[in-house]
Structures are given as structure tokens and as C-alpha cells.
Point group: C2
Chain length 150, copies 2
DNA sequence: ATAATAAAAGATATTTTTGTCTTTAATATA
DNA sequence: TATATTAAAGACAAAAATATCTTTTATTAT
């Protein structure tokens, strides 16, 4: 059982967040990047990353263009795109809504034994994801106080 | 990708927490419960639950006794056993320590772009798990303000 | 138009997690 | 001591997540 190393997000979701941050760090006029460039930049498996980018396109977080000089670019304003949207697109809403103990019947009125304790943490997480924009995060990379890679 | 519904803990970990809470709700003098009783009480698959209880025994959170009238019981005082110990036993320490973006090189000195934001949430989660005892939680069930089952 | 490029779509493979089944070991009781 | 009971251990199976490969579609440039 100690082989399980559960983390906050799925790998797919982490690649998605990484990819979106990378996109948001691109300089004005060069906001488009191809699959190869992206997966190289974030050190993720190319084909798997393709699937994830596809999903982000379906969720209208990215646009895509086929053909030579094609690629992906962020749909809309990175200062109005929040981490919560990326997480929701890939990992669904259980991280925001699901009962920590997995109980179907858990609700505010019929709470599981850890409901109140987790509500606070979950609200904290949700609030953070809903208020942290891609621009917030990408700016930190661009000014050199945070790092996507070594 | 929307088939992924990532949650906070693995299923195994949720069963473990549920099982431990159930154990902690047992009245004095009847603190021992067998696999069947436990998995019925928390509505979990019996054989899989057996593996999880085994792990909890290995981690010294439970004792076990074989043979007729055998079963499991909590090792030690439920008021001094914290949710963090259960989570750590089953899901490892990545939920407490791992980089939210999965970056190997992420650290306080070389932070990933969301490091500071996640640190606060993670510290909140960790603090809650380290200070919430099994007794805290089980008491809520026993006085009827929280529910393990419908 | 044709060829080259790059994403989309779909099939397939691998790994991990979840779950089951069978055999073995320990213990209580008749 | 023999039998029944229950957990431990190990093999096995199914499902889900991760990852790859191939074919198709759209677009650009020649």
C-alpha cells in the first residue's frame, strides 16, 4: 500500500497547469507554441501532452491551429484565466466538491465525521485556485522569482 | 480526460480513515472488530479492506488477533492518534511534501510558480490532519452530529 | 495542385490502483 | 488433539490512469 503516493492533482492535470503557465510566459507577439515546444519546455511526454492540450482546447482554454506554423495559444486574457478552470477541465470537480471520505450521502445537513474540518481546507484550496490567475503565476516566472524548470 | 475525477485521497486511504473512525466509535469493552464487521460498517469491499487493515497493522495503528473472536483493535489512545498518521500510512507523504506541479527541483529556494500559493493550503491541510484526533472525530459520530453511514 | 507541417482522432500498450480468490498461519474452544 | 474461526500472505483479475503509435484532417507554402 505504501506504493501509493497520492498527490493533490493527477499527472495529467499537473502537465496541464505547467503547459498553461508556459503558454502564459510567452512574450507578446509570440504567444503561439507547438506541441513539441511545449512538451520540451515542461518536460512532459509528447503524445500524452497532446491529449491534454486537446482537452484544454475542447474546454476553450486554448485555441489550436493546424498546419505549418500552427500550434496552440491561450484563448482569452491570462489575467482573467484562473487555475481553477484548468484543474476543473482535467480533474473534474471532485477536488472541489467531493466528500473527503468518499461518502455518497455526505452533505452539509448529513455531514461525514470530517466534513467540517475538510470544508475549511477545501474552501481554502478552492479560493486560491479561483483567484490565482495565469498571469499572476507567469509573471513570477518572467521576473525570475519562480521556475518552471531548472 | 474528463473521465479523471481526482480526489484528495486514494480510495484505499478513504477506506482506512473510515475504518479507523469506525473502530474509534466502538464502546469501551468492545473495541475489537473483525474484518467482516468493519467492511460492512463502512461499506467497503471486504478483501481489499483486509489489505488496508493489514497495512494499518504494519504501521502500528491497529493490532490484530487471529482465530475465533479475533479481529482488530486500535493500538493506543484514539485521543492521541491523528488523521495524519492514517493518511501517511496509506498514501505516503507526497500529499504533505510533494510539489503541486510535480517538479523534482521545486523547493523553498527554487520554487515552482505556484509554490507559495500551495504552501499555505498544504500547511492548512497538514495542520488539520496533524491536530484532528480519531477521538475528536469519533465523538461526533457517537453524539450523532456526524455520520459514517446513512 | 502538391508537398510539407502540425493538430485531431483513434487504436493500442503499459503501469498503477483497485479488487478478488486461494492458501497458509495463528488461536480459541470443544 | 481436532475443528472452527479469523487474519496474513500471495497469486491473480479488473479497471483506471498514463503513455505511445498510427491514421486522418486542416493549413501553409511551394
Amino acid at each position: 500500500m505504501s506504493c501509493i503516493e497520492e498527490e493533490m492533482f493527477s499527472k495529467a492535470c499537473k502537465y496541464a497547469i505547467n503547459a498553461m503557465i508556459y503558454m502564459a510566459t510567452l512574450p507578446q507577439g509570440q504567444e503561439r507554441a507547438g506541441l513539441k515546444e511545449i512538451s520540451k519546455a515542461i518536460n512532459s511526454p509528447e503524445a500524452f501532452t497532446a491529449k491534454i492540450l486537446q482537452e484544454l482546447v475542447k474546454s476553450d482554454l486554448l485555441n489550436s491551429v493546424k498546419g505549418p506554423n500552427g500550434g496552440f495559444h491561450i484563448q482569452g486574457d491570462p489575467s482573467r484565466m484562473f487555475l481553477a478552470e484548468i484543474v476543473h477541465s482535467i480533474d473534474g470537480d471532485m477536488i472541489f466538491l467531493g466528500c473527503a471520505l468518499g461518502l455518497e450521502t455526505c452533505s452539509e445537513d448529513h455531514p461525514c465525521p470530517v466534513h467540517h474540518k475538510f470544508k475549511a481546507v477545501r474552501d481554502h484550496l478552492t479560493g486560491m485556485l479561483m483567484t490565482t490567475s495565469l498571469k499572476d503565476v507567469a509573471d513570477r516566472v518572467n521576473i525570475g522569482i519562480s521556475f518552471l524548470r531548472y
